[in-house]
Symmetry: C3
Subunit: 147 residues, 3 copies
């Protein structure tokens, strides 16, 4: 593990901190801009992969507005990051994701939680990173790939 | 993202690991020493901001002693760290915080949890970092700033 | 905090991401290979420390097979890492661990959770790290060391 790899690992941690906070706090356009124009969001909680930055943005905005209307604050935690630099110049960033859902109602209730994995193919675009293909797998749904 | 930034980001991660463990394990004086003498702890779960290292320490000690008397082990997890170096030389370290509260009673009950954000203004003091102003916002309370 | 320390801290984060995922996804042999041949796994949830890589592996395999048969997906999150380089050349890596347990039954139930601390004595073996002695303490069990 050399210094270059160390800086890359840290850069990706920082990237996720900013990306997920944008989504959690309703900056949906800024969040969608972290995907490639033809990026894909593939989740086992969805009927089919969402293709293209514009559709990814509009889907996320609809979800955000519904949560906001219900007084729900969602937080995406990323952890256990594993980074692989691939021969084609892309990065495979695999991590765990924990989604915490709180209600801003003053009832001091605990957040509900959801455990997932997320595998991202990231590409460099100048001084920033973009998501080319995101694969989210919820741990509470049957694991098709293990079948 | 250069190597210097990478080292700073990591230094702040390490700072929080040590700071939060000190609080969680009852080293309240050591924890309070990570605030500036006139540091502020501003939380939306408190009636007003706590001002000054001495008052921060005495408030935390009272809370710790109550938890210890009840056999409660609290753990503060910090994640999704975003660091910004500001023009005035201070650092803005924004992160998510998850507070896990376990009972050491052998009943194998799950911890309760609480989701927050924390924005710290950090300053460098020789080879260490100090908190100048901490802003904690619980996600289960109404978001005044969004009103 | 110099660059070398920064790279080491990051290397240990990366080590845990890979080590814990191996265990969580049933690559038990790969996981056990991250312990020294005479490594020790000492947990306050077990009647006595498990000694030696082979016994560590067989114990973990038995636990994994039972979880898999029940359709349970477990995830070990590591956080709040604190690293100390010791005079004898070993590393003391102390961290918090959160164990999330989901059922892959499509019922969309939340994972159960467990809060622990983990103190690892790590040693370098060429370009990899190995666990010499792991001490896991569950926060829901009485704290013997505090008695």
């Amino acid at each position: 593990m050399n210094t270059a790899n160390s800086a890359l690992y840290q850069e990706i941690q920082h990237f996720y901190a900013r990306q997920m906070r944008a989504l959690d706090e309703g900056e949906v356009t800024a969040w969608a801009q972290t995907f490639e124009p033809d990026g894909v969001f593939d989740a086992n909680g969805l009927p089919e992969p969402v293709r293209g930055r514009e559709v990814i943005e509009s889907s996320a905005r609809k979800a955000w507005e519904q949560l906001a209307a219900e007084g729900i604050q969602r937080r995406h935690w990323i952890g256990m990051l594993d980074v692989e630099e691939r021969a084609d110049g892309t990065l495979l960033a695999r991590h765990y994701a924990l989604v915490l859902t709180s209600r801003r109602d003053g009832e001091r209730a605990q957040p509900t939680s959801l455990s997932c994995t997320c595998d991202d193919v990231l590409v460099r675009d100048g001084d920033r990173l973009l998501v080319r293909y995101r694969t989210v797998r919820r741990d509470d749904l049957p694991n098709a790939s293990a079948a």
